[in-house]
């Protein structure tokens, strides 16, 4: 998790830097120049002339806590947003056989759709060989699976399936409990390969 935090700090610095640059670029003194430059055709003029705008238009309503709680299903890689509950691989295997095997195959690499489990003879992008964060497994299953009944699994079932898929990929042991605390701590094998986009246009081929 250390490496991951370091990456977030880097990302944070980069984008905080961009925001700062933007804030500087949008100072009122420069604003007219920018609008003028845009109108002269150097770019599509995309920045509204909001100097004359009211502080608030007053359109829309306050979103209360209940509504946000109902809608907010996002999970961050540090575990923020993970619900209560826990799962073990053996329980997950039972759900997998009942609800996932048709698309993903009995072994996880032998179904008609996405390969989830790595085996030595395949270069497929599986959870074990390609997914950089364990929290993504929980988040994606809860959002979108099973394909023919999205959103039908309980949080507990999602934890169990997550445990099974991590176990099948050799990432956790069969008796390892997966919950909101343990899941974000799992270091995924593929994480070390991921780099942030460094293409910036220009003559070089990336």
């Amino acid at each position: 998790m250390q490496g991951s935090m370091g990456k977030f700090n880097n990302l944070r610095n980069i984008f905080f830097g961009l925001i700062l640059m933007f804030v500087i670029a949008c100072q009122p003194a420069n604003k007219k120049n920018k609008a003028k430059q845009e109108l002269e055709g150097s770019d599509v003029p995309v920045h509204p002339n909001d100097e004359e705008w009211p502080t608030h238009f007053g359109f829309g309503n306050k979103a209360d806590e209940l509504l946000i709680k109902r809608l907010n299903i996002s999970i961050a890689p540090d575990g923020t947003g993970l619900p209560a509950g826990k799962g073990f691989a053996d329980q997950g295997a039972i759900i997998y056989k009942a609800k996932c095997v048709t698309c993903h195959g009995p072994k996880g690499w032998d179904g008609p759709f996405d390969k989830l489990v790595s085996n030595d003879s395949s270069k497929a992008k599986t959870i074990g060989s390609y997914w950089p964060y364990a929290t993504t497994v929980f988040d994606y299953i809860r959002r979108a699976m099973p394909y023919n009944a999205p959103g039908s699994l309980s949080d507990e079932e999602v934890y169990q399936l997550t445990a099974f898929l991590l176990y099948a990929n050799g990432i956790v042991k069969i008796n390892e409990e997966i919950n909101a605390k343990t899941l974000p701590k799992i270091e995924m094998p593929a994480k070390k390969f991921f780099v942030i986009d460094d293409r910036r246009g220009g003559r070089e081929i990336h």
């Binding site: 829309g60 809608l71 950089p132 979108a144 394909y147 942030i196 293409r199 990336h206």
Partner: protein, 419 residues
């Protein structure tokens, strides 16, 4: 495909002619076009204009069809998208200019097209904001509006491996529309975004609850929430009633049917931005958050599957870049030995399909024609060989090589792979 189609219903246009005319007479001669409700091979009901009756020998000798409530294509024109289970491709070779008719805009979804009632639609913006808010469609339409023409391209927009591929099959996952909506920065101003925020999550109201993390800088650069496409409400396939529009960025980030925006200070590492929409590059690395679509072009005429005749040919195509304007398109008609500058159709718009053309006399000899795009950053669209060498990878997302067409002596045209 055509064989599997089943006609479900036929509707003769319900018309109130200003002159007395019997329905029988209409059926007998003038009403040559009817709307036919068809079932396609995926079981989806689609509406098509079909010639129901003989076209008269001399259209000046029979009364034509009176004005109607909706226009329709001539039954002689049948451009079609090319569907798979998860996407449907724009027929680039059948289009002219740069605007994609809305019903031919490419589709890519991860859980089907949801049915959403615009009267119940709400967008929630929360997280690192002064005031979490919800907006109805009516609310969003009240904000100052903005209109912009730009392309949307899926970053998985490359097919090869056969010579009988059309532009639609090679790169039909790009389309262009005139979009109207509200600038995202206008809404972020309204909710009071915390200046420490660096990312936001955009989430759809579809069966996949599609979600992507977007750097905050894009919100202030040119991101929009759009409700209109080519002058009318968005098509359901394009995100009705509201989608995120991120000009120049990969299509997957431009969340359709958007229901929630969460302002945050880190990316969420959703499935689509980790295990999908990332690409293998040199050194065994995996490139992540590669949002911008690099410059690309394709000759759409002449191209497979048509056959040309000896003589003058206007080579036509489109070029586009997610980094800004196309500054130049070069065309080679001699297998890449020489390159000529094509004419760009003005106005050239930033992050938009740009039409190019080059008048060429084909002497009937076998040759290869190809085009390469150059954008305002000085980027040159690479060849397949150059790109695979640089990436150490033979495909994947953001794969934008030059398309080469071989013209045989008989005028038939075939895709050349791997050069």
């Amino acid at each position: 495909m055509e064989k599997k189609r089943k006609i479900l219903d036929i509707q003769i246009p319900d018309i109130m002619p200003p002159v007395k005319i019997s329905r029988r007479k209409l059926l007998g001669g003038a009403a040559a076009i009817g709307l036919v409700l068809m079932q396609d091979s995926f079981g989806k009901a689609i509406q098509e204009a079909k010639p129901l009756f003989e076209v008269p020998k001399d259209p000046t000798k029979v009364l034509g069809v009176p004005p109607g409530v909706l226009g329709s294509r001539s039954p002689f024109e049948q451009p079609q998208k090319l569907p798979s289970l998860t996407s449907s491709r724009t027929p680039l070779q059948d289009l002219f200019g740069t605007i994609t008719p809305a019903d031919l805009h490419f589709e890519r979804n991860h859980g089907g097209v949801p049915a959403i009632d615009p009267n119940k639609y709400e967008l929630v913006i929360h997280g690192m904001v002064e005031k979490a808010m919800r907006f109805t469609l009516h609310d969003l339409k009240r904000f100052p509006s903005f209109t912009r023409t730009c392309f949307i391209e899926c970053s998985g927009n490359f097919r090869s491996g056969a010579t009988n591929l059309s532009p639609q099959e090679i790169c039909g996952l790009t389309s262009q529309s005139e979009w109207t909506g509200v600038m995202l920065s206008t809404l972020f101003r309204e909710v009071g975004v915390n200046p420490k925020a660096t990312w936001f999550l955009a989430e759809g109201n579809d069966a996949a609850v599609m979600a992507r993390s977007i750097p905050m800088s894009k919100a202030y650069e040119d991101a929009m929430l759009v409700y209109a496409q080519n002058g009318e409400a968005l098509r359901p396939e394009q995100g009705y009633p509201i989608r995120l529009l991120l000009p120049g960025w990969e299509g997957n980030t431009q969340i359709k049917w958007i229901r929630r925006i969460e302002i945050a200070d880190q990316p969420f590492m959703t499935r689509e931005e980790t295990s999908k929409y990332t690409e293998n590059i040199a050194g065994g690395r995996i490139r992540q958050f590669s949002f911008v679509m690099d410059a690309r072009s394709i000759i759409t005429f002449p191209s497979y599957p048509i056959q040309i005749e000896k003589g003058w040919v206007e080579i036509r195509g489109i070029a586009w870049s997610g980094r800004g304007k196309i500054t130049q398109v070069e065309v080679s008609t001699d297998e890449g030995k020489n390159w000529e500058e094509a004419v760009l159709q003005e106005p050239v718009l930033s992050k938009a399909h740009t039409a190019f053309r080059l008048l060429w006399y084909w002497d009937g000899r076998q040759t290869i024609i190809k085009s390469r795009a150059i954008d305002e950053t000085g980027y040159y669209q690479p060849s397949y060989q150059e790109l695979t060498l640089a990436r150490e990878s033979k495909g994947g997302y953001h794969f934008n090589p030059i398309t080469a067409w071989e013209i045989k002596k008989d005028g038939s045209i075939w895709l050349i792979n791997d050069i």
